[in-house]
Symmetry: D2
Subunit: 460 residues, 4 copies
Amino acid sequence: MHFKSIDTRSVISRTLGNIAWGWKRISAVGDASNLVLRPELPDADIKVLRKQMQECLNARGGEVSARSHAAVLGQAYLELNDEGRYRFLKLIADEFGITEDDLAATLKQYLQEPDDSGSLLAQIKDQLTPPWMKLFTQFNALPSGVKFLVDMRADLVRFSREQPGLNSLNNDLQQLLVSWFDIGFLDLKRITWDEPASLLEKLIAYEAVHEIQSWDDLKNRLDTDRCCYAFFHPRMPDEPLIFVQVALVNGMSGNIHELLDDSAPLEDPESVDTAIFYSISNTQLGLRGVSLGDFLIKRVVDDLVGRLPNLRTFATLSPVPGFRQFLENTLESDETPLLKPGERDQLKELTASRESDDAYEIIETRGNLEPVLMRLCSHYLVNEKRELGAADSVENFHLTNGARIEQLNWLGDHSEAGMKRSLGIMVNYRYKLADIEKNHEAYITSGEIKCSSKIRGLLK
Amino acid sequence: MHFKSIDTRSVISRTLGNIAWGWKRISAVGDASNLVLRPELPDADIKVLRKQMQECLNARGGEVSARSHAAVLGQAYLELNDEGRYRFLKLIADEFGITEDDLAATLKQYLQEPDDSGSLLAQIKDQLTPPWMKLFTQFNALPSGVKFLVDMRADLVRFSREQPGLNSLNNDLQQLLVSWFDIGFLDLKRITWDEPASLLEKLIAYEAVHEIQSWDDLKNRLDTDRCCYAFFHPRMPDEPLIFVQVALVNGMSGNIHELLDDSAPLEDPESVDTAIFYSISNTQLGLRGVSLGDFLIKRVVDDLVGRLPNLRTFATLSPVPGFRQFLENTLESDETPLLKPGERDQLKELTASRESDDAYEIIETRGNLEPVLMRLCSHYLVNEKRELGAADSVENFHLTNGARIEQLNWLGDHSEAGMKRSLGIMVNYRYKLADIEKNHEAYITSGEIKCSSKIRGLLK
Amino acid sequence: MHFKSIDTRSVISRTLGNIAWGWKRISAVGDASNLVLRPELPDADIKVLRKQMQECLNARGGEVSARSHAAVLGQAYLELNDEGRYRFLKLIADEFGITEDDLAATLKQYLQEPDDSGSLLAQIKDQLTPPWMKLFTQFNALPSGVKFLVDMRADLVRFSREQPGLNSLNNDLQQLLVSWFDIGFLDLKRITWDEPASLLEKLIAYEAVHEIQSWDDLKNRLDTDRCCYAFFHPRMPDEPLIFVQVALVNGMSGNIHELLDDSAPLEDPESVDTAIFYSISNTQLGLRGVSLGDFLIKRVVDDLVGRLPNLRTFATLSPVPGFRQFLENTLESDETPLLKPGERDQLKELTASRESDDAYEIIETRGNLEPVLMRLCSHYLVNEKRELGAADSVENFHLTNGARIEQLNWLGDHSEAGMKRSLGIMVNYRYKLADIEKNHEAYITSGEIKCSSKIRGLLK
Amino acid sequence: MHFKSIDTRSVISRTLGNIAWGWKRISAVGDASNLVLRPELPDADIKVLRKQMQECLNARGGEVSARSHAAVLGQAYLELNDEGRYRFLKLIADEFGITEDDLAATLKQYLQEPDDSGSLLAQIKDQLTPPWMKLFTQFNALPSGVKFLVDMRADLVRFSREQPGLNSLNNDLQQLLVSWFDIGFLDLKRITWDEPASLLEKLIAYEAVHEIQSWDDLKNRLDTDRCCYAFFHPRMPDEPLIFVQVALVNGMSGNIHELLDDSAPLEDPESVDTAIFYSISNTQLGLRGVSLGDFLIKRVVDDLVGRLPNLRTFATLSPVPGFRQFLENTLESDETPLLKPGERDQLKELTASRESDDAYEIIETRGNLEPVLMRLCSHYLVNEKRELGAADSVENFHLTNGARIEQLNWLGDHSEAGMKRSLGIMVNYRYKLADIEKNHEAYITSGEIKCSSKIRGLLK
């Protein structure tokens, strides 16, 4: 769309550009000459690269110098294309992992002799730590080093989907990032319209649930009866890691269009009773597997409780991403106790409509679809399981955090995306502060799904 | 001395006080009741404590709640006395380490069957990670959590000197801090007289090499022809981790009293040619084993090169902490080729003087001691080894960093401390930017000690 | 236009809203009860108002209390409509000015007797200072008081255009603002894309020369080869007072469309030789008569010289706002030596076209209009005078600042506004650093207009 | 004393040094050549100086250039000695004031003809504004220009005490500073131990009431149960203009030694009921006549009320600077109804003691002096007048602000200064929020002095 002055790709390339620039200012100490590689990293260049990596790991010239050499390596990585980057990472994965033979020898020794001093255990730990971990750490000493690693991880995640041989490398980098992005290191910040435009444009780019249509839309979402919070890492101060958007309202909101309507009158935030979390977006593909959402929601609740003492209710207004698929599967299966006579045909017409507008029109013109769809959707949320947990991914996230299913909202989101995901139905998950721990515990240990009496009513 | 408004102990207790205060504001989510333990942690309280630790590790109620419980645990720790803290840490060390039997079973399986998926290796890694690592991380999510862990490590370092059974715990916490205090996470800051008094008083408290006598002395050390740099961690912004003091002068400085003389005229920093690093102090006992000094020196050199382009020479003015002991040992040994006839008696009189003032008087009144002491000291620095490296600890640090021995300075420090350490002799280690890597390499791999021709002249 | 999320009016009302809010938090000391007036300030309310003003001026209860009462007065002013505000200001103008009879008595005394102590002169000064000056100052002590006075001055400027009796009040407030907005109190700031969105939207609203079309357009104008500078007052930190936009280019730019084209490739600002000032906008109507533009240009030149040492040329790309009107006047006059035979008809067709698009089409399709229009425009700039100075207002501003006329640009701005102002012609005024003082002096004292040989060539 | 690392003189010279440095970076525009004058400004240099001043005032080359020339002038001023500075200022006072003949002509015209347009009044105002006002303003545009003017005013205040001919210049500069240091432009800041040492050392230097003995003493005065507030001007951010020290205590404090005792236990500021203002110091001689104290006290009360809602009582603990002198005068007078028989001799012995220690010993050893001294002191405070107001200067300040006399404190300050001022007696002035306005009004209009019943009891 024309109004978007930024897309994720350009955000990332700009960052990488800055990194590259930062690394040109090489230290007076341990100066390292440049490394010029062809973008697709042909075999001839692999040799040069291998040598440079070995030098980093040997740390000849000292640890400070080694990090200068790592900078050159990182700089070279940034200039590769996807083909080259895959080959770069594959080289690390193939040649800088653990040495299983040495490990096996130590393991045998450990199993045969007493290890009173613990030195064998220490040796095992050491042998289990691949050299690539050292490489990762060396990248960290450089300007924007943390961002570099997060972006390299994003490459690993992308490549791992299609290419073999990177899993172990990917897992180890994830472990490192889990440690470095521990919640204790992150800053929670409230984001207002007074934030730099260069930061706010990233919200527009990163918003994943309800697209931000324009700067006006963004301004509306940051007005006095809305708020937005994000986690930041001190070494990536310009990058929100995850952010949540909250509406301050009276009563449980069930309709996303009303929440996002910028012509709606402002509420006085001091007097409202309910905070609706209507969008949570992760921004960094490279942090996949680093759990931040649970902490974000609860830190935000803490902050809101402190600032706005009239708030009584904390809930989400969430999509049901898996419902339409579930419905279509149900309609395919020949026998199902879920459908009453006649409902199958009625619903088939609906799901047959490929265009969202068509589906919406059918719903609008047939007044009688609400009961069956609401019943099926509540069944989907309450009874459909994947292993112990709920089948719906968003639901699983909030139940794990200790929320319960509070309310289904008919036509809560009739946008194209909303029709595709769930034929317009939205759901509120509610965080009752006093119940969070026990809800979590019941869900985690026995898969028990808590819901309100309203929901139970729909099930019948 | 009366002018000191702070000592290290009070700095630390204040910090802990703040932590305690911070933790009283317990989250609205996952509220955890208080844990009251008696200061010396008697056996009865150990039981309560064990239960609380297990709950943290089980993370019943979810990860956010677990961290609230960890806060209670940390709060309780802070209120224990040394006896109680030792028992607290010993409980962790004894009961929350790895389970060797389970580990051995997996190891056997790994040695017997192929592990194509890598799942056995992953399991081994997991079993090698003690539960106490999780506890450490849980402490991190709380206000001042990083400082808490650094202070807990300081306790571990102290207790480990005299008490058994904490080594493994101590090592693991060190490893965690090595990762969290990686140079890539630290901020280098120049500290001026415009810094908060609450920060500057910590320099007075922490200075370990040449005691800061008063606020006037400190102000003089931060004047325009001096500078001070420190590393900070973003989660401990009020705590310098290590700091270095630099004098900007013309020519190699050989006398610490002249450097610290606050009546000396100011040099114009834009025109001087030499930067003398005359003091480096680590401040956190809890970061013992986390290497920061090498990076600090080289980052400071980088910054100085950028700001003051007339600087040509970078060197230290350092104590020789081991020389007097070496001299006394030499005088004890019956046969040594190091002493010429008559020197032994002459020197014995000197070393017999227990009071520094006496030794200084002897030196001052006997004009002829300089040649022999300078010869012996240069011998000590160049030839005395501990394994591959130099015997002197300060020397070993700078040689490892790639410096060389440049110049010995007769009576460079005739303070009480200076006489006790080295009978007043000081040494300059010089960092020649072009040679740092190869000096480091030669020293590390073959123990070769580089020195100037002046030093070689003294050896004869 | 739809993309504008702000207009000047809403900016101002928001500010006033904040002021109102700030003033509700009335001090614990000198609390003053509220003043409720009807929006149009009927006669009955005038009485109440007069009394409150007198109390402020008497400062009963002390100066701190008086300022609390002034707060109430200011608050009441903000809630009036235009009619009421005019009556409010007229009340001040009519009743709180100087007392001419008292003044005359003192003047007579002064002319008759010697005033050795200077006390009569002091008394005269005092009697010449109207009470309203004290009122103005009392408003200043309140949150956003400076902004309040600037906005009240804007009202005065607006009302003075149509209503009598406010001139003296208006002039005195202008004098006060001249003193308070002395250049010595202002901050020059460079504005980048990292500035708060709440500030940047004001640039969009306030830009007066080449409208900012969208946030994308704004971002382009703040890219690395552009810059924007503004003056701020420390008591109005969120309000740019005047701002200038600069393009960093190679060679003299003659076309505004090229400068504003966001698809043009970026220049490297380190290597360009020319800074083009292409837009200067005053933002505060209330600061009319407070001269800021001259200082702004020269401070920006200073900053650019320091940051980008390759810059050699400083010039504007300016509109010629009076040219079309001059041309039409010329065509009206029966006899003029300026037109050659046939030119009058040719040009009449052009000026007859009321739509800019038509005029542009005529120019585009008739190849031969450039010579005559460029000749007439250079004549207009060089020879048309208003008293001593140049007739064109923008020209007069730059010549007063010491610039010279450098170059005329054919079709430099064929936007609607550009066609209306000057049939598309733009002009560069050049600031040669070495000549600024003497250019200024020659222009100011004898009306001499300096121009380049190119311009002189066009005149022939 | 040895502990003072700063005195006022050195503070000022350092500031001036910075100014001088700042002014060396002369603008690229309107560059002005240097002005070298001999320190004592001999007659020959006066000529050069006069010419430079005239050029500034003519503003040849434009206003920006004129300010560059003013910078040169200011720079030259800073390098003069006191003799030279006096001659510099005298030159301005003698030659750049108003032209009385021109003024008289206009006045006559104004008295003879109607001035409907107001242009004659405008001309009179103009002629009443001396050219030196323009010079002052021109200094303002330069780095630290405000501080320069404040320091120049300090010179004027000093010189005016002994030298004639500067009064009018001094008054006009005072008027300008009154306008520029209007309370609306000042920032109130709370000063804590986290403030820069370079700021805190100024408190030590400037404290005028109870000398700050050391950095430890200062730290104690900034501890959690103390606070310190100061006003700052945005153009002199490193200079507190006036500061007040407050103790948070329970009940009315009557003893300054207890307040300043750094071994006293800390009070919990959240629970105390009384704020004692025990020291107010003006710091800038150049701001003599610019009233700041009243606003400071009331702003601080506002801040304290907001932060510490348990505070009920606001009072000072003040010296009685005029009491001892009053007592000595009373003892000199032959007949006075104030003394009862025998008291004169008793007191004469006391006032005869020139050494404070002697007086203190007499008081300590004679138990019976308290009643008579307390009676006389209360009489002094309540009944001794200077015109309408109280004779005591500190008392007059607080009564003007709306306080009342609350309590006399026997031996409240037995330091050397305290004995000299008032034989150790201190007084509390109390600010009852509800009474401030009417107390002020009664005192200002009729000289009525409010006091507590305790004080009235002492009078009997």
